[in-house]
């Protein structure tokens, strides 16, 4: 039998051949447009986020190694499985920062400690999608369409079906936004959803001197075009105008928060600015990729430490910046799968199964690591999933469903996740 590809080869390609990567390589040099009016938050909606959170979904693409990001240092099997790359227990040189006597954060994740201690950040461990696939793409599909372990017949995203089953928060042209060039599968078929690579440049193109006139011509001609173009053109123009009122460039985060000057940092800063502007945006999705750490993982001062720094510093800045809005907002972070429990010969880790989710918000039951993980059991050789990986003991749909029902007032979870009965885990207070 001619076997074509090893899984490991696949992953290098994955890093090289993501759509985003292709886009970045093809992208021409950006031009900066004219300056915006001064920062002025708007309050336009009678129906506010007091009754319904804004939902931010961060997708950590590439398969995040949860045994590093939230270290189960209390499970001694970890150090047998990973003699070289495990984060050491608290008190050791470069050791973890303790969370609860069993789990800890590696130094690069320590910026998240204040949010955790403020009970506004929870971790959910040995969690994720139950689908056994170890293909990034299949795992994305199952997780984002929301149909793991089911026939691949669903082609809309779970976030899209959420938006389809709750009324809009107001007369907004933009209910959902992906900080991306294309809508992620989570938002496939979502109403009033746009992919916006950079909200600060979602601008009407061309000569500023004639922009108003040209915009009027388009509004007039598209108004005659009938459905769906007439509505779509109007949404686009309205979203251009909506985002145009937000001076992203001069936005000053609250509480002295400083976002890293990274793609992820800038994206989350934009999301903060839009949520504060109360535009009626209900959902924002942001990606942070690069978690496919097969070689020289570098959990202390290396590759993955840098990535974790970007993640934790950004989320910490978001937490500080959004303090006044914490009761009107929930952030969820997830990844398509975790990595194998044991390290490989390249001092990295290969594709595994269970991973870890993050939940942040004023009504999240924070300050805890939710996990069905006591003593040493989950990393014990007899309990590993397929003999090599952390198991999924909490389905990501349980966490998502609880947030959707309790924080975003969705009463139709059967549509969001067909053929699944979620078991709430107490992630919301």
């Amino acid at each position: 039998m001619p076997k074509i590809m090893s899984d490991d080869l696949c992953c290098n390609e994955f890093k090289k051949w993501s759509k985003r990567q292709l886009l970045e390589e093809a992208r021409p040099k950006a031009r900066k447009d004219a300056k915006k009016p001064a920062w002025l938050p708007r309050v336009v909606l009678a129906d506010s986020f007091a009754t319904r959170d804004a939902l931010v979904v961060v997708f950590l693409r590439g398969g995040m190694d949860s045994l590093t990001t939230v270290v189960p240092y209390g499970d001694a099997n970890l150090y047998t499985l990973r003699p070289n790359i495990a984060v050491q227990p608290p008190g050791s040189p470069d050791g973890a920062v303790d969370l609860d006597g069993f789990f800890g954060l590696p130094p690069a994740m320590a910026p998240l400690l204040p949010a955790y201690q403020a009970n506004q950040l929870a971790f959910v461990h040995a969690a994720g999608s139950p689908d056994p696939t170890r293909s990034h793409f299949d795992a994305f599909k199952f997780m984002e369409y929301g149909n793991p372990l089911q026939p691949a017949t669903l082609f809309s995203g779970w976030l899209a079906r959420h938006l389809q089953t709750v009324p809009p928060l107001g007369a907004t042209p933009l209910r959902a936004m992906a900080i991306d060039d294309l809508l992620p599968k989570m938002l496939a078929d979502a109403p009033d959803a746009l992919p916006i690579t950079d909200p600060s440049t979602f601008d009407f193109p061309g000569n500023p001197g004639t922009a108003a006139l040209r915009q009027a011509v388009l509004e007039n001609t598209y108004a005659l075009a009938g459905a769906p173009l007439a509505g779509s053109a109007q949404s686009t123009v309205d979203t251009i105008n909506l985002l145009g009122t937000i001076d992203f460039d001069n936005y000053i985060p609250a509480g002295g928060a400083v976002y890293p000057n990274s793609t992820f940092g800038r994206a989350m800063k934009s999301v903060a600015a839009i949520i504060k502007a109360q535009t009626g945006l209900e959902v924002a999705t942001v990606d942070l990729g690069g978690w496919d750490t097969h070689n020289n993982q570098g959990v202390i001062g290396g590759y993955m430490a840098n990535l974790m720094n970007d993640l934790s510093s950004t989320l910490a800045a978001f937490h500080t910046d959004m303090q006044a809005n914490m009761n009107e907002l929930t952030l969820l972070a997830m990844t398509e799968f975790g990595r194998r429990a044991d390290e490989n010969v390249s001092l990295g880790t290969d594709h595994g199964h269970g991973s870890c989710m993050f939940a942040m918000g004023g009504n999240i039951a924070g300050g805890q690591v939710l996990a069905n993980w006591t003593n040493n059991e989950l990393l014990h050789p007899d309990l590993l999933y397929q003999n090599d990986s952390l198991d999924v003991t909490i389905d990501y749909r349980d966490i998502v469903s609880e947030v959707l029902q309790n924080r975003v007032n969705n009463t139709d979870l059967g549509t969001v996740f067909p053929n699944y009965t979620p078991a709430f885990q107490g992630i919301t207070v």
């Binding site: 001619p2 292709l22 193109p205 061309g206 949404s235």
Partner: protein, 513 residues
């Protein structure tokens, strides 16, 4: 995502026809057209040579402002058969007449395409086998991906074999393969060349047979892992659901499992000829199978799969599914049922001859489809703008970039159903189109230029008639009067010439064909 449902009958033109006789006569006419063309133009080569000579003849010189209005029928055929109007393409077609132009396009191998070929010559991977690509570019290199993507732009804009390119687009979606599904980057080039392009205007059975043996497809739909005792159903299911019978076709889950067994052992070589199809006997399930009620006796080996392909290709449901999908692609979202029927019958009569089906479709009465224009997908949209404005693309990657921003990067649709073809899917993303049009004339797309001033100067319109001239340049005059009026008011406001075209290419009329 809306799929084409061959059982969902659109409003039938038969239902609204005033008399049965009219219906009959048109039906007969369609039939005549379908069968007649081959007789009329039996000597294809002679015909093509004649047409090539005609194409070199120029229309009488003179001021463009006195140019006769475009012939709507010819314009409609041109808009269907190409990636968009351009004056030079129209002039060629006008010399030939619609039917002759169609026959000329149906013999692409005889059309001189040296200009496009010269632009493609820089892409060394296009002529390589998968093994050669692997030898030349290591596994971390994206040159093969970008070269193939760029070739799509070059061909859509510059190839004179436009109908072939339209069919290549159609079949690329029909037999969709995600180029990011490793190792497809090293296999898709061969699939594009030896399967899709090779058979785009051939016969459907040949195309299907080639696709079933394409390494890229064998990988993408997992048939490489389909082995006796552990059948992988992915290819079997999509083969029937998406490639042949259609999702409402007469097959069951049991058929899917049986078809999967028939294809056990169909895989491709690793070495020495990477990507070469092989039938690997030891992995084949040699038991008896029953597919669509037909018993396939044991011991058939490789012929089991071929038997299935033959059955599916000859099935009336396949004929209907392909006919309907082609009609939707060329004619409109709800093609007249009698035309679909006629195309289906042509499929069955000619063993799936694609050219014969195209003759029926593209000679359909123009009024049938002019009433419901189609929304251009991003490749069509950008190619039509670049064609009509005679843009110079020094770096096609810049256009690929905008296609990705518009959500239509070549070979990037991840699912086996291919890029959708509905206004609902594409109509929600307008800003990237407006940005592309504006950037093109602002000179903001590096190495891609269109000269607005030269285009308008060549038309030399009288003051107050600039919008009419721009309409002529971009579409041959199909923008609406309301759009022309709005545009003229904008022009009269003293706006600069460079703004005129970007705006004209952003109005709804230019999004349709």
């Amino acid at each position: 995502m809306k799929r084409i449902d061959p059982t969902q009958t659109p409003i039938q033109s038969e239902d609204i026809q005033p008399s049965a006789m009219l219906n009959m006569s048109r039906r007969r006419m369609l039939k005549l057209v379908a069968g007649g063309a081959a007789t009329l133009w039996g000597q294809e080569q002679l015909f093509a040579q004649t047409m090539n000579r005609l194409a070199q003849r120029k229309l009488p010189a003179g001021s463009s402002s006195v140019r006769a209005p475009a012939d709507p029928t010819l314009l409609a055929v041109l808009n269907r058969a190409t990636f968009g109007f351009s004056q030079s393409a129209y002039d060629e077609a006008a010399v030939m007449g619609a039917d002759n132009y169609l026959e000329w396009q149906l013999a692409p191998e005889l059309i001189d395409d040296s200009a496009a070929d010269a632009r493609l010559a820089v892409y060394d991977t296009l002529t390589m086998t998968s093994q050669e690509i692997l030898n030349t570019y290591n596994m971390m290199n994206n040159v093969p991906i970008f070269q193939l993507m760029e070739s799509v732009v070059v061909r859509a804009v510059y190839s004179r074999r436009q109908l072939k390119e339209r069919m290549v687009e159609f079949w690329t979606d029909h037999f969709n393969i995600d180029i990011l599904d490793n190792p497809v980057p090293f296999l898709k080039t061969a699939d594009d060349r030896d399967v899709i392009r090779q058979h785009a205007l051939g016969t459907f059975p040949d195309l299907l047979n080639a696709s079933a043996r394409s390494a890229a497809m064998l990988w993408y739909l997992d048939n490489y892992a389909n082995v006796a005792g552990n059948a992988q159903e992915n290819y079997a299911r999509e083969l029937m659901e998406l490639h042949t019978l259609g999702v409402t076709g007469p097959y069951t889950q049991q058929d899917v499992q049986e078809v999967a067994r028939c294809f056990t052992g169909w895989t491709f070589q690793n070495t020495p000829n990477y990507g070469q199809f092989i039938y690997w006997g030891p992995n084949h399930d040699n038991g008896v199978k029953t597919v669509l009620g037909q018993v396939i006796p044991p011991g058939g080996g490789e012929s089991d799969g071929q038997t299935v392909l033959d059955m599916l290709a000859a099935h009336p449901s396949t004929a209907k599914f392909i006919a309907n999908k082609m009609c939707v692609y060329f004619l409109g979202y709800d093609p007249p049922e009698d035309i679909v029927e006629s195309v289906k019958q042509t499929y069955l009569d000619t063993n799936g001859d694609i050219k014969s089906m195209l003759r029926v479709i593209l000679r359909a009465p123009v009024a049938e489809y002019l009433a419901t224009p189609k929304f251009k997908r991003p490749l069509h949209y950008s190619a039509s703008l670049l064609r009509s404005t005679e843009a110079e693309i020094a770096n096609p990657l810049q256009v690929v970039f905008y296609l990705m921003v518009m959500g239509h990067g070549p070979f990037l649709w991840p699912r086996p159903d291919g890029y959708p073809d509905t206004i609902e899917d594409w109509g929600s993303s307008l800003l990237p189109r407006w940005q592309f049009a504006s950037a093109l004339f602002d000179g903001a797309i590096p190495d891609v230029t269109a000269d607005a001033a030269a285009l308008i100067a060549a038309q030399n319109p009288t003051p107050g008639q600039e919008a009419v001239a721009i309409n002529e340049i971009l579409t041959g005059g199909t923008l609406s009067l309301a759009e022309e009026t709005e545009l003229q008011q904008f022009i009269d406001s003293g706006s600069p010439t460079t703004d005129w075209f970007g705006l004209a290419a952003s109005v709804p009329g230019f999004q349709h064909y």
